[in-house]
């Protein structure tokens, strides 16, 4: 299947993920907000390893830091770590059934929360409320729909 020329989708998905990260949520469920950007980066690292690698993860992370006003480099570090693990296990991950893939993504997101908590701990920044530790579960549940939607977009034949 020829998927060249489908790469315009990549910046678009990043942009949408950034907007979803900013979108105001009611305070009680704010902690459950999935890490959209990580899902998107994971998708591209798995599906387009030639175009999306560590550099892509880093640049996306820095942009996310600027947009969400977090510590510059925090998202970058988290996404680079995730992209690296994904690259290592890409060969296996690709051929997992989707459900199993979602589980793996959930594990990665959990690992990402640990990384974030470690950064905050080292710098003496406040830790997030415990609810944020449930966000990886939400992220894992969203993996299957997200994967299918993006696949559908990319598989459509160009005119």
């Amino acid at each position: 299947m020829n998927r060249r020329g489908r790469l315009w989708l990549l910046p678009v998905t990043v942009l949408v993920a950034l907007l979803l990260a900013l979108l105001p949520l009611p305070a009680p469920v704010q902690g459950l907000r999935p890490y959209w950007l990580a899902l998107v980066v994971a998708y591209w690292v798995i599906e387009e390893p030639g175009h999306a690698g560590l550099g892509f993860a880093f640049v996306t992370g820095v942009v996310a830091d600027l947009v969400t006003g977090s510590l510059l480099g925090e998202h970058a570090l988290r996404l680079v770590v995730m992209a690296f693990i994904l690259q290592r296990f890409r060969a296996q991950l690709r051929f997992f059934p989707l459900g199993q893939q979602a589980l793996a993504i959930g594990g990665l997101l959990l690992n990402d929360r640990v990384v974030a908590a470690a950064i905050h701990l080292l710098l003496g920044l406040p830790q997030l409320p415990w609810l944020h530790w449930l966000a990886p579960v939400v992220g894992a549940m969203l993996w299957v729909p997200l994967f299918l939607v993006l696949e559908a977009f990319r598989a459509r034949r160009p005119r």
Binding site: G55, V67, S70, L71, F84
Partner: protein, 317 residues
């Protein structure tokens, strides 16, 4: 087409991949450290903020549309109900205001007798909050008004309850507010009842501030109202900061730590007021540190802080 393409990653899992990982990790850590230590990256951040400003506007759009729809959908009876309630409130406020005006005049006269500098009126500008969620571990707000609307860095931000924070970064159409509750924030305050001067620190939680190094001997009680003292020149004096909700001894047992419930409503989706005409003279952190030197010896300042409190403090209720 994408400039962020990563040319050679067909076969990761080798040494090169690990080296690249280390390089990017080092880069990220360097960024984190520089940003955390402050200073160096501020300029770059401000420039970049101009670029991401449209994204903020876009992200705030759904909330604004939702609000507009809610406002369009309200019924006539609700409007008239609202109108009636607001009229009543206005009446009560006006009565209080009249009463306060007498006291303000008297205050001004007494100040004149004392030879103290007169304090100007309250010159404010209304600015809407851009309803988007920033990094949850930081206490920041984004305003939908920027340098084009006359917002300047260092301006004090208040709402009906009291001080909210200060403007720390301005782009043409947005402004970032550092809330009182941010871990990086400290504000010089005084107890309005006694004039004891202290510092209120943010601890990164939206519902709490802390007063540290309160001498055990000083006259501080649970329930005391805390207002800005005006020391350091960054915040004008006399605006409510919060109310003391608990007092406990610190680790050394020589001082008390006071918990403070913020007076301002630190949630989103409303308008805030920006104070004009309070030009920041000094850099805030240094000024705050200076003020912390003698927290107990507040008597000299007594004429200053409580005298200024009633107009704004009472209006808030």
């Amino acid at each position: 087409m994408p400039s962020f393409a990563n040319p050679a990653a067909p076969r990761p899992g080798d040494v090169a991949g690990t080296l690249r990982l280390l390089a990017y990790l080092a880069l990220s850590v360097a960024l984190i450290v520089f940003d955390h230590r402050g200073g160096w990256l501020t300029r770059a951040r401000e420039t970049a903020a101009v670029a991401v400003q449209p994204l903020w506007q876009l992200a705030g759009l759904p909330a604004r549309l939702g609000q507009a729809m809610r406002e369009d959908a309200v019924t006539r009876s609700m409007l008239s109900e609202d109108n009636r309630r607001l009229r009543n409130e206005l009446l009560v406020m006006a009565a209080r205001q009249a009463q306060l005006q007498v006291e303000a005049d008297e205050n001004a006269r007494l100040r004149g007798l004392l030879g103290a500098a007169a304090r100007g009126g309250l010159d404010v500008q209304l600015a809407p909050i851009l309803d988007i969620d920033l990094d949850p571990s930081r206490q920041r707000l984004l305003l939908n008004a920027g340098s084009r609307d006359g917002v300047r860095q260092g301006q004090t931000v208040i709402d009906a309850g009291g001080v909210l924070g200060q403007v720390i970064a301005v782009t043409p159409d947005t402004a970032t507010v550092l809330l009182l509750t941010d871990l990086d924030h400290a504000v010089p305050v005084s107890i309005s009842r006694t004039g004891v001067r202290l510092l209120a620190y943010g601890i990164g939680r939206a519902d709490r501030l802390e007063l540290r190094n309160i001498p055990v001997s000083s006259d501080v009680q649970v329930g005391d109202v805390v207002v800005t003292s005006g020391l350091g020149g960054r915040f004008p004096p006399g605006f409510p900061v919060g109310r003391i909700v608990d007092l406990r001894p610190d680790d050394s047992q020589a001082f008390l730590i006071g918990g403070l419930a913020p007076a301002a409503q630190l949630d989103r989706g409303r308008d805030v007021l920006l104070l004009r005409g309070t030009a920041p003279r000094a850099r805030a952190p240094e000024a705050a540190e200076d003020a912390s030197g003698e927290p107990g010896e507040g008597t000299a300042d007594e004429a200053d802080a409580p005298g200024a409190e009633p107009p704004d403090g009472e209006m808030a209720r």
